[in-house]
Assembly symmetry: C2
């Protein structure tokens, strides 16, 4: 299988697949002409990585997940721990973004949005929010 076939099957961009080889996530064979020659296993791994990435796992976490997947002696507790740690990170980000969202939407509501210069958004950014 050539790289564009794999890209079509997995939905991953060609560039990304090459990148995943660069960083050692996959090691496809090479044809005599130098082209990458992907096996079904490579395809499967890439699909796996693609789904893990779509759940927000970082590349190193993907590497760990792949290793666990290939390890028949794994304990599901190890996978769960990894996933929980990632979930906490997601929750942290959601909270952070939610706080931004709340502040920002209040400011937006307070702004007339007309052709006058006075603007509560700018006023808030310029205001002293210091603790002292």
């Amino acid at each position: 299988m050539n790289i564009s076939d794999v890209a079509n099957s997995t939905g991953l961009p060609v560039k990304t697949i090459r990148y995943y080889e660069d960083i050692g996530l996959i090691t496809p064979a090479r044809s005599a002409n130098g082209y990458r020659d992907f096996s079904d296993t490579d395809l499967h791994k890439l699909a796996f990585i693609g789904r893990a990435r779509s759940l927000g796992f970082g590349i190193e976490a993907c590497r760990d997940l792949l290793r666990l997947y290939n390890d028949q002696t794994r304990a599901s507790a190890d996978v769960k721990r990894l996933a929980q740690s990632h979930l906490s990170e997601i929750d942290r980000k959601i909270t952070e973004l939610g706080e931004m969202r709340d502040t920002l939407s209040h400011l937006i509501d307070a702004c007339a949005g007309n052709d006058r210069p006075d603007c509560p958004i700018l006023a808030d950014l310029a205001a002293d929010h210091g603790s002292a």
Copy 2:
């Protein structure tokens, strides 16, 4: 004012302040010895940027906000538009993270988390989610 005073006042790291000068957000004066010599205006600008950044505005948006702030003839509509566009982006991210969160927490709930190898999380990542 030396850079560490500004860092203390604004809460921004020294490195970040130098970086903001590099990219032209601020242009502090220099003392005879080559040290940056920050004015109150510089301080104010940096605090402004710090607050905009804490609301998640990107650097270029900060530049725009600063420009609008300094433009007495601005229309609040322009500020509002910028903020709304940023809010949409935040909402998009929250939605994306929320979807990840939901999927991931279902999988985590389904995983026994013991020392057995069978794991619904890995099974899901390995499963064919293809459209065909």
